[in-house]
């Protein structure tokens, strides 16, 4: 199949790739760009393990073509860390035991990140809505909610974005 060249910015870095038009965005991210933090759980947008930010909005990268992201700006779980400092959400997930197997975690972090950007002081219900597109099979969500609350509190105190 004929390939075409696309350009994306991922976690602040400009990258170029030659892709088939049918290549899924998640495969571009994981295989062509080597950022394996983003996972594939269901292939159908149900589970949210592949959630990344594209141009400031969360998308499920397993049901989007790489060519649709051409010229766009991507942020994945690998982009949360800034200048060697963990994002408060990362601290929250560790402190509140918001994960077990870790497979849903990158998607959960990205959905929570998008939520806190829009709504820095979410209620528990807001958080549950915010992660409603993400499935976790281990934790029962309770500690994930606590992890997001931890981050919201910390960000309010410290002024972190």
């Amino acid at each position: 199949m004929a390939k075409q060249t696309i350009k994306v910015k991922i976690n602040g870095r400009e990258r170029e790739a030659s892709v088939e038009p049918r290549l899924l965005l998640v495969h571009l991210i994981r295989e062509s760009l080597g950022q394996t933090g983003t996972h594939i759980g269901c292939d159908t947008s149900n589970c949210g393990a592949c959630t990344v930010m594209l141009n400031g909005k969360t998308i499920k990268s397993c049901t989007m073509f790489a060519v649709q992201a051409d010229g766009g700006e991507l942020m994945t779980v690998e982009g949360l860390i800034q200048n060697g400092q963990w994002h408060p959400l990362q601290e929250g997930f560790k402190e509140e035991h918001g994960l077990q197997c870790g497979f849903c975690t990158p998607g959960m972090l990205m959905s929570s990140y998008a939520l806190l950007q829009k709504n820095p002081n979410p209620t528990e219900e807001d958080i549950r809505w915010g992660i409603s597109g993400n499935l976790c099979r281990c934790t029962g969500y309770q500690n994930i909610v606590k992890a997001v609350q931890f981050a919201a509190k910390k960000m309010a105190q410290g002024g972190t974005k």
């Binding site: 088939e20 933090g37 759980g41 393990a49 560790k94 197997c101 497979f103």
Partner: protein
């Protein structure tokens, strides 16, 4: 409670997990993250039919697709004696189908290509002629005369896998004959899939120079899997290394060995290249190990005051097309004989029959329950039925029938020794804490017009960590 000092840590202190730091930075290393030089990709061709004879497989179009390295069929495996593999339950299972297929999505051929998209394309090009056969999906019909015979490979020409019984059959019959009160319950604990968020997969890497095989595997049982690879592939165990890296959830689903793993190994042996095979979610849900699927009947004999005198349980277990149940006990029904629960039953009898149906292999131990979940559900439901029959309160009937605290160590009628317990006091504490009497009043009030329920569950569990009991009381409001 005993609590160590913060310097010592441990008891009474929360512990931060070592693995979290990499998981939250996207630095996990799951099987699909493993990327070896020269690695190629496998894709499974699966049957669209639940029961069909395989007439012909034509791989020519698939092989003609640029980038395709091999298409392996059951016939190819049969030549090497690899068409079947042993299961963890003493049965055998087809790696790739020969003769016929026995469940929808059964593995029929394995395509190997340089790219995972090309492998999927080529799988579409494998042409398989099937002749449909009558399908058996209802386990209750499995032993009927005229039921289609599923497993032609076995000497035994019916669909029966095993009969297992425990307890005192005659004593139980006698108790039932003498009992003034008898209740029974048909309960179906439906088939369910553990569905870990990460599907199953592997990277098989056979090193032609050292004759050693390394398999990165979504495995909850790497040692058992190494033994099986050794048995199937005739490779000495010391030449096989199974690496179980980060696993994206298992819940029992990653204990059985699946044909895709074996095919990836065969493909690596054949091509001399590392072969990655990763299931899609649909493949995972259709073909990998299911749990539960118990059709149970429980009968309880009791006196008029609610004291139970005997329990009789008869169960039909649907194991699908191959008995690939994965659990560590020597019993074909796992720990199901814990079904007398926390109750002091003078006598009991339990029997389980396993049958084949045209479904994906079932019987795996979902979340390590080893059939305890089914047992707990059954006994608690039938105790409720007895309470209803006698118009007794659900808590009162339990209190009356619990094994008394002074009876421990207690030998259950189905063979278990319970070392210690105090169920009456546990129940009392729990009922006080939730305000049971007020709840009953509230229920009576709300039942004027609406349904308002609550249920008890007193689980006598015996899992990997040993026997234990816990109590759960739930409310269903405004149903």
């Amino acid at each position: 409670m005993f609590k160590t000092t913060p310097e010592v840590g441990g008891m009474g202190h929360s512990v931060k997990r070592k693995e979290d730091s990499r998981f939250i930075q996207g630095r996990g290393n799951y099987v699909d993250d493993v990327n070896l030089p020269r690695m190629v990709f496998g894709h499974m061709v699966r049957s669209p039919y639940a029961h069909a004879r395989l007439k012909k497989i034509d791989i020519s179009k698939a092989m003609a697709l640029p980038g395709v390295l091999a298409v392996i069929t059951g016939e190819d495996l049969a030549k090497a004696g690899l068409a079947w593999m042993p299961t963890l339950s003493g049965d055998k299972q087809m790696v790739l189908a020969t003769g016929k297929v026995l469940f929808q999505a059964q593995e029929v051929a394995f395509v190997v290509a340089e790219d995972r998209y090309v492998a999927a394309d080529a799988a579409e090009l494998v042409e398989v002629d099937y002749e449909e056969l009558p399908v058996l999906v209802d386990p209750k019909k499995a032993m009927d005369k005229g039921a289609p015979l599923l497993r032609e490979d076995r000497e035994q020409k019916d669909n029966h896998i095993f009969h297992w019984e425990v307890g005192d059959k005659q004593g139980t019959e006698k108790a039932f004959a003498a009992a003034p009160v008898k209740v029974s319950l048909d309960a179906f604990f439906q088939r369910c899939h553990p569905a870990p968020l990460e599907t199953c997969g592997c990277v098989a890497d056979y090193n032609t120079a050292t004759s050693k095989l390394t398999v990165y595997l979504t495995s909850q049982a790497p040692h058992a899997h190494r033994t099986l690879f050794s048995l199937v592939g005739n490779i000495p165990e010391q030449n096989i290394r199974i690496i179980s890296p980060d696993i994206g959830g298992g819940f029992g689903n990653k204990v059985p060995i699946y044909p895709g793993y074996v095919c990836a190994v065969v493909a690596s042996l054949t091509t001399g290249l590392p072969v990655k095979w990763i299931e899609t979610r649909s493949e995972n849900l259709m073909s990998t190990g299911f749990a539960r699927d118990y059709h149970m009947t429980a009968e309880v004999a009791a006196n008029k005051d609610g004291k139970m005198t005997a329990l009789r349980v008869k169960t039909l277990a649907d194991h699908g097309a191959f008995n690939a149940a994965a659990q560590p006990t020597k019993f074909p029904a796992g720990l199901f004989s814990i079904c007398s629960g926390s109750y002091d039953l003078p006598t009991a009898f339990c029997e389980v029959d396993g049958v084949y149906t045209n479904k994906a292999p079932g019987g795996i131990a979902y979340r390590c329950s080893f059939r305890v979940t089914e047992a707990a559900y059954l006994i608690e439901r039938v105790v409720d039925v007895l309470a209803d029959e006698l118009k007794m309160d659900a808590a009162e009937i339990r209190e009356k029938n619990f094994i008394p605290a002074n009876a421990f160590p207690y030998k259950s009628p189905l063979g278990w020794e319970y070392d210690s317990g105090n169920y009456q006091d546990n129940l009392k504490v729990a009922l006080d804490k939730i305000g049971y009497k007020d709840l009953l009043k509230e229920q009576a009030e709300k039942r004027k017009g609406r349904v308002h329920g609550h249920w008890h569950l007193h689980v006598h569990g015996n899992r990997g960590r040993g026997p234990g009991a816990y109590l759960r009381h739930c409310r269903h409001q405004d149903v």
